[in-house]
Subunit: 102 residues, 2 copies
């Protein structure tokens, strides 16, 4: 038997498209781009220092950090009462690969 004839096959989005969209989404806010640049320059940074650099409330910065962390772009390491954030080089490399492939 031949497979059923679909009049129009429109497959869902590919994994690569979803992945790139997810990463782009994480960078889709000036504050988050700024945090990434900050971490690139300083290597690592405690949350409080990031808050002092951005023109945003602490709660808002924490939210942006959460978005970047969920996307795997940064990692947070607890250090006593503080949390030290740093970039994930692999994730950043992946972003560059995917964007470069466009």
């Amino acid at each position: 038997m031949s497979p059923p004839r679909s009049p129009q096959v429109r497959p869902p989005h590919s994994a690569a498209d979803v992945e790139l969209a997810r990463l782009a989404r994480a960078l889709a806010h000036p504050a988050r781009v700024r945090i990434v640049r900050l971490l690139a320059r300083r290597g690592e940074c405690v949350c409080g220092q990031i808050v002092l650099d951005l023109p945003l409330a602490q709660a808002t910065v924490s939210q942006h950090l959460k978005v970047l962390k969920a996307a795997g772009i940064i990692h947070g390491q607890v250090d006593g009462p503080r949390v030290c954030y740093c970039l994930d080089p692999k994730a950043l490399k992946r972003v560059k690969e995917l964007i470069g492939g466009l």
Copy 2:
């Protein structure tokens, strides 16, 4: 007179941060990434063909095309009743520069 002593100077986001965020935002949806890939592969494409390839309604696709166009990533050229879309290589290059600079 010395300038007034601000307790904390937290400048607004830089132009580069805003620009990258704006471009990343345009790519922050699987359908839009997919359209970019489609145009990269085919060189150019009329709207109707894009609609046929995506699992979305025509109105939704048109909206995504508008987002990409507003970000300068694609251009649309009217050709009779059709509109032919193509990538803007300069915008794409700019995205790669900005991402590469992270």
